[in-house]
């Protein structure tokens, strides 16, 4: 498997998903996982998902992202840039994927 590809998502795919992406990048670097990240709007999730291995978004987008049926593991955050929360929620998913 190559680099882990993660998509962060918000309403517009501009600001908060980008901030989240930078926070996630920091966390994964700390965990020693090689990854490639990008951010996009919730409107584009269904089509964008096929290029990724994992989705991370704010918990208020849970229903919409789940209804897009991407089949990817999704992580929903309460505090988008809280590295502690990101690490707590992402670590079990990474273990499931056999990356940790």
């Amino acid at each position: 498997m190559g680099k882990l590809r993660i998509l962060t998502v918000c309403g517009n795919g501009l600001g908060s998903s980008f901030a989240c992406q930078m926070a996630v990048e920091g966390v994964l670097k700390g965990l020693g996982v090689d990854c490639k990240l990008d951010h996009d709007s919730v409107s584009s999730v269904a089509s964008a998902a096929r290029n990724f291995d994992m989705i991370i978004a704010a918990e208020n987008f849970k229903t919409q992202i789940e209804s897009a049926n991407t089949g990817l593991p999704c992580v929903f955050l309460h505090r988008l840039v809280d590295k502690k929360e990101i690490e707590e929620k992402v670590t079990p998913v990474l273990k499931d994927m056999g990356l940790l």
């Binding site: 309403g11 908060s16 901030a19 709007s41 409107s43 704010a58 229903t63 919409q64």
Partner: protein, 435 residues
């Protein structure tokens, strides 16, 4: 010498090249490997060109809309403008030919923000790229309108923009602290005057109720069906389609004949409303590409240079703290903006509400209202917020029209305040015979 002149005339006047160079500088400063520098620079340039393409699609749709409006209601000299900061940015960067200045000013705002955060007590580093791009646009446009050119224009626009980027998060921080129950993030979104106005209204409603805060919005059960409003492009469509259909209905089939050809005029209006959203979608996709390299560069550099800086982030980072307040804020701001639209009709230029802004600024205003006075604050504050964010852009729109913007006005109110700020300074200096 001739070669140098040729390069200046043909290459360095191209906004996409200037923007590419700004990205190149940012990547080089981070000591990125050469392949990343090249791909990052190219992607940034691509972003600008995608943005321009989106802007022209949006403008075609707006030209049609403006024309239909004039044919339907233009008899008494009234005109209509659509509130869209994205569109203002697109027109300024392409049609007004200020793209290079806006790109350099964006870098200038980064620098001024870092200096102010480093040396003043306001430790806020503004990381919302698109908001900085909008602010840079208004700073450059108004500095240019005041007669500045070249280096003085860049300097003044960067200083004003940098000051706004540092001070606006500080202005909102007392309420943000209450919302997040912490002090580690700040709000970086140039609608701060609107949010603080909402907070003020909520403070008043709380006082009027004898100081008792009403129940929080988060104790409400909102119907699941409202969740489609989380999708901003969908929300824009839902609002723009009726506006286009109503105006086209009033203008009648003859008015649209030149545009629509064989297509039914109402079907054509529907398609044009969709085209508006297409333009917006493409424009913002361009912005995403444009900023993808610049923002991490800025974050990396600023966090190194400003110890214990507080990152000022885009408004949706607050949405998870009060998701119900977001929906209530959006609905109430939209109601308020329709009232505001009616008021602007009496002011001579009818302003069509900016749905994107209603969505994001409205949602955040709901959170601010809720933080001060629960659901009462979110509802009443939200409605007043909607009126507020229509009146301010309406006051600015005659100046924007004079500058050369077609059928458009700003949304994010801090950028409107920036425009007023430039005009105020200009007229004060004028009194002393300086400008």
């Amino acid at each position: 010498m001739e070669i140098l002149q040729w390069i200046i005339d043909n290459i360095l006047t191209q906004a996409s090249v200037i923007i590419g160079l700004v990205a190149l500088l940012g990547l080089a400063l981070q000591k990125k490997p050469i392949n990343e520098i090249i791909s990052g620079t190219l992607k940034t340039m691509l972003g600008f060109l995608v943005l321009s393409a989106g802007s022209s699609v949006m403008q075609t749709s707006l030209t049609y809309f403006g024309d239909m409006f004039n044919q339907a209601f233009g008899f008494n000299g009234m005109s209509a403008v659509v509130a869209s900061i994205e569109g203002i940015n697109g027109q300024a960067m392409t049609d007004l030919g200020l793209g290079s200045e806006i790109a350099i000013c964006l870098a200038g705002i980064f620098i001024v923000n870092i200096i102010l955060a480093r040396f003043t007590p306001f430790k806020y580093v503004f990381l919302t790229g698109q908001a900085l791009l909008w602010e840079s646009t208004l700073c450059v446009v108004f500095a240019w309108f005041c007669g500045l050119r070249g280096i003085p224009l860049i300097l003044i626009a960067s200083i004003v923009g940098g000051a706004f980027a540092t001070l606006m998060p500080a202005f909102a921080q007392p309420v943000v602290r209450k919302i997040t129950e912490s002090d580690d993030i700040a709000l970086g979104h140039f609608c701060t005057f609107g949010y603080m106005f909402t907070a003020l209204i909520a403070t008043i409603t709380k006082k009027l109720a004898g100081g008792h805060e009403s129940q929080s919005t988060e104790e409400l059960e909102l119907p699941q069906s409202l969740s489609f409003m989380q999708d901003s492009y969908l929300a824009v469509m839902v609002v723009m389609i009726p506006f286009y259909l109503i105006i086209a209905g009033f203008a009648g089939p003859e008015a649209a004949a030149d545009y629509a050809g064989d297509v039914n005029y109402m079907v054509y209006a529907f398609l044009q409303a969709m085209q508006f959203v297409v333009g917006l979608y493409v424009l913002l996709a361009g912005v995403r590409l444009l900023l993808a390299e610049l923002v991490p560069a800025f974050q990396g550099i600023s966090m190194k240079l400003v110890p214990n800086a507080r990152p000022a982030l885009d408004c949706p980072v607050l949405f998870t703290y009060a998701p119900n307040a977001v929906i209530i804020g959006f609905i109430c701001t939209t109601i308020g903006s329709l009232i505001g639209m009616a008021i602007t009709g009496f002011m001579g230029t009818l302003v069509i509400p900016g749905v994107m802004s209603n969505f994001f600024a409205g949602g955040t205003a709901g959170i601010f209202g809720n933080a001060i006075d629960g659901r009462r604050g979110a509802i009443i504050g939200g409605i007043f917020h909607g009126i507020f964010i229509m009146i301010l852009p309406a006051l600015l729109s005659p100046m924007l029209a004079q500058i050369g913007f077609v059928n458009m006005t700003c949304t994010d109110v801090d950028t409107v305040v920036t425009g007023f700020f430039f005009m105020a300074i200009h007229s004060i200096l004028g009194l002393f015979g300086i400008a």
